[in-house]
Structures are given as C-alpha cells and as structure tokens.
C-alpha cells in the first residue's frame, strides 16, 4: 500500500508549525467533556467492579430468569437492567464486563504500540534494506484479516483473555509501524538529526532521544483511536465464541447469549451492545479531539 507516501507528505508540512501548536497547548480547545465523563464512568466501573456491582455477575437463579428491566412490567429494582437466560443480573455483568473490555483494549493497544513504534523507528532510521524487509513484513501483516487470525489462534491455543490480546496485537502493530516510519522518514531529513549525528550520538540515542519524542503526539492519537477498535474486535471474537470464554462476563458473549431470545427478551442483547457503543464512541470522539488538537495533519486516520 502507498499510504506512507501520502502520510509522509502530510507530516512534512506539519513540522514547521510545531512551535505554534505547542504554545497554544491543550487549552486552546474545549475539552470533550462528554467523552471523558463516559470513559471515566466505565474506568471506575472496571476498577471498582467488586464494590459497585449490585450482585454477583455469575450467580444464577433460574426462578428469576428473563426478568425485564425495572421500567417494564414485572421489572424489579433488584435487577435494574433485568436478567438473562440463567437469571444472572445484567447490570452486574455489564459492570464486570467493562473490566474485561477495557483491560483487553488498553493492553492490546499498548502491546501493539510498543512493537509498532519500535519497528517504525528502526525501519525509518536505518532505511535501505532494513526498511524494505520490515515494511514488507508490515504490508503482509496488514493484509491479513484480524478476525480470521484471531479465530485461528483461538481454536489453536484455545480461547482465553491473553490469546485474544495477542491475536489482535499481532496484526495491529503494523498500522503503527507504517505511520511512525513515515514520520521518521521526514524527521530524518531535518537538521537536528544531522547535527546529532555529527555530534557523535549513537543510533539508539538518536532513536530514543530525538526521534521517539517527536512521534509521541501521533502515538497518543493513534492509541486513543485504536482502543475503540480493539474493544469492538474483542467483542466480535467473544460474540463468535472465540474470545473470552464463559462464564466470565464479556460484552460480546453476552450479546451472543441473548441473540436467540431477542424477540422475547430484547434487553439481554441490547444493554451490553449499548455499553460497547458508548465506550467506543467516547474513545473515538476523544481520539478525534486529540488528533485535531495535537496533530491536525493526521486527519485521515
């Protein structure tokens, strides 16, 4: 793919404008309050799931199965969002599910960022054959459908939390590598790198002290935008039965469990989906805002 050519050109234009942006800082724009609030609520729910959750997410009670949400007829305050096929409290499961989704999202993205940024920095710095080989690997990785690989891995090593994280990260790093390499290529043309070279700085010093800090803005934007994507992929995998295995409450598998009862008990599938929508929407809006603020030239990501 030729995305790097376009990305490289765009980044080149961004460099001279850097001081002006820095002066304006983050205060130049209104904070995305709603997104931050939504993310805040879900992060709190994830951290304090054991305190906030009104009940045990795995406790079954067949007598109370398919209790509707509180505002419907037959609904009770005991199960605010209703119960599922096994009489488990949906609100508790969604709260515990946020722990699974957010940890999976953040962990995967951090892993992908570390590998991708590393590859991008090394490829961009060394150029030549190193660059060619690394970028061909990146291209091959990018052309592999994520869900397909994750499905194969899930069946190969068995579905588990860690396997889901690895399966997604194994593909996701390539996106970072591409963008970061493009940026490093333009940075390499600038005088301060030449000066660092003349001053005798080692390759690792130039990469870590000079190149890496200049890619940080891009990394922050990319990372935020990808968290939402990873949460969706993780949920899709759990939905297909290749993600986090039951009875651990994961949003994707909750939707899948409610699928057959959608006509008689719509809430079982609806609320976990709403949770995914809210979190992913919040991360995407926050990412958009960060991009517009930190790195306007990245608009196409």
């Amino acid at each position: 793919m030729s995305a790097d050519a376009a990305g490289g050109g765009a980044v080149a234009g961004a460099i001279p404008a850097a001081p002006a942006r820095r002066r304006m800082g983050l205060r130049g724009r209104r904070l995305p309050v709603v997104s931050l609030a939504i993310i805040g609520v879900f992060v709190l729910a994830a951290i304090f799931a054991n305190v906030l959750s009104p009940g045990d997410p795995e406790e079954q009670s067949l007598r109370n199965r398919f209790t509707p949400p509180v505002w419907e007829e037959r609904g009770t305050w005991k199960h605010v969002l209703g119960t599922d096929r096994l009489g488990r409290d949906l609100l508790s499961r969604i709260i515990w599910g946020s722990r699974v989704s957010l940890t999976a999202g953040v962990l995967t993205v951090l892993l992908a960022t570390a590998v991708g940024a590393g590859v991008g920095l090394v490829a961009g710095y060394h150029g030549g054959r190193v660059d060619t080989v690394l970028m061909r690997i990146t291209d091959a990785t990018m052309s592999f459908p994520v869900i397909l690989l994750a499905l194969i891995l899930a069946v190969t090593i068995g579905p588990s939390f860690i396997n889901v994280v690895i399966a997604i990260a194994v593909i996701l790093w390539a996106r970072y590598a591409r963008v970061i390499r493009g940026q490093v290529l333009t940075l390499m043309e600038l005088d301060f790198i030449t000066q660092a070279r003349i001053a005798g700085a080692s390759a690792s010093r130039i990469i870590l002290r000079h190149l890496f800090p200049n890619t940080l803005n891009t990394l922050v934007v990319l990372t935020t935008l990808q968290v939402g994507y990873v949460i969706i992929v993780e949920a899709s995998l759990s939905f297909l039965g290749a993600g986090i295995p039951p009875p651990t409450p994961a949003w994707g598998s909750m939707i899948s469990e409610g699928r057959d009862f959608i006509t008689s008990a719509w809430w079982v599938s609806f609320f976990p989906g709403l949770a995914i929508l809210l979190v992913v929407l919040a991360f995407n809006l926050l990412g958009d805002w960060l991009r517009d603020t930190l790195d306007p030239k990245l608009r196409q990501l």
Binding site: I147, I255, G273
Partner: protein, 306 residues
Amino acid sequence: MARFVLTRLVQSLAALAILSVVVFVLARATGDPLHLILPMSASEEDFANARKYLGLDRPYVEQYFSFVGRALTGDFGTSLRARRPVGELIAQRLPNSLRLAAFAMTVSLLIAFPLGVLAAVWKGTGVDRAAQIVAVLGQSLPTFWIAIVLIEVVAGRLQWLPAGGIGGLSSYVLPGFTLGWFVVAGMMRLLRSGMLEVLDSEYVKLARVKGVVEPRVVWVHALKNALIPVVTFAGIYFSILVTTAIVVETVFAWPGLGRLAYEAISSRDFPVIQAVVLTTAAIVAVVNLSVDCVYALIDPRIRYAR
C-alpha cells in the same frame, strides 16, 4: 510504470508465500482433526488408516509442498467435515461473498460520496453535522449488534425484509447495509477532509476566477484531487470489509466465504481453513495491487518515488 507494477507484484507474491507458511503451521497446530471426524468408538487402527488416507502421516515439509503445488492448480484437498473437494466449496461460496461485498461497496460509495463532498461544501451546517454523526456512529457500532437489532426490528417486528439467507435483491439489503456502514464512515471522513483542503487551494480559486460554474468546481476540479487519499485507503477498506464479512455472514446466515471460515474453524476443518484464508489473502492482495497501480497512474509522484 512496468517496473513499478512488477516490483509490487513480486512483493505481493512474497507476502502470500509467507502467509501460506503461517497458515499451514497454524492449521496443523489446531489439534488432531481425526478426533472430530472419526466416531468415538474408532480404534487405534482406524486412526492410523485415516491418517494415512488423508496424508497426515507424512513429514510436515512434504505436506506443505504438496499443499502449495496442488493449491496453485486450484486443488485444496478434501474438506474433512463435508467430505467434498475444498475447491468446490470455495467456488460455491465465493460468488455469494463477492456479490454481497459488491453490493455493500456500491451502497457505501453512493452514500459516502455525496455526503462527504456536501459536508465539506456546506461545512458547519446541518448536513455536515448529520454526516459527522453517521461517520462516528459507523465507527463505533459493533457490527454484530447492529445486525441483531436490524434483524429484530426490520425483519422481525416490521417484517419488511428477510432476516437471513440469500435470495432476491431484498435479502441483500440488511447484510449489505450492516457491512457497508463502517466503510461509509471512513470514506466519508477522508473525502470531507480532502475536499476541505482542496477547496481552499489556489487552483480551485483560479477555476472560480476563470468563471467555472460552482458545481463543476466542486464535483470535477476539487473532487479529482480529494480522491487521492480515498484511493490510497481503498485497499485498507476492502480488507476491513472482508474481515467484517465474517461476522455479518455468520449473523445473517449468508452462505459466503466468511461463514465458511467460521464453520471450518469451529470444526477444525483445516483444508478449508487454509483455502479460505489464502483465497481471502489473495483477493486482498490483488485489490491492493490494483489500488497501487491506479494510484501510481493518477499520481506520478508515487511512480518515481520507488
């Protein structure tokens, strides 16, 4: 130009070769498929015979090369589950997937183009805001969830459209829209930001000064250049479409390649897994290659850069 195409062709082939090894190794690591195809009562001898019959007793390297050799002629072996030639299964499912993808892509283009261009032209108006909402929702809605909701509401309660399976044009609408929405979102954003940039440029101003009518400025002069980033990302959108199709086809019971992959993986049918993954990757590679060629054709900078 010929050199550029040739280089990219070799690169794509190399990527496919690496992929074939990865797929082969992964498929072999999914556990012994014989446990699934033989009855519980099968003896040691039955296992040995079946292994020999299916060629699973030979060294892995040999298995790999015979696999590649046959794959090149379109022979992917026999499905362990369906007991039918894999090539036949693929040939049966692939057109369904391609038809659905084509439908989804057409719908996406029809929505994304006017919406993206108009959002840029009428920046800050209701149209722009509506477009932004469509875009951000498209990137945030879990496909499988929206699929279930659509099935329940449009097919179940309203009974307007079929809930699943393949049939007339009406059966394409729900899966097609579900599949296309994500692409619409991305494309529209690219087009909008591209148009905003281009509409501000000198040559567009010149066109206006020369007296070119506004619709022509927008839809011909500006759009042509705003298209470049869209073409660049077209390959990526296509592989997103292919990935999303696995989920969409599974939910809508669509007899396509994605559903075949899902079924094959859940029954450890590895000849089918290999074939599906490689077919998919080959299609993605061909699409990416053509995108690169189109890109090099419309933007000479790419041709000379490499």
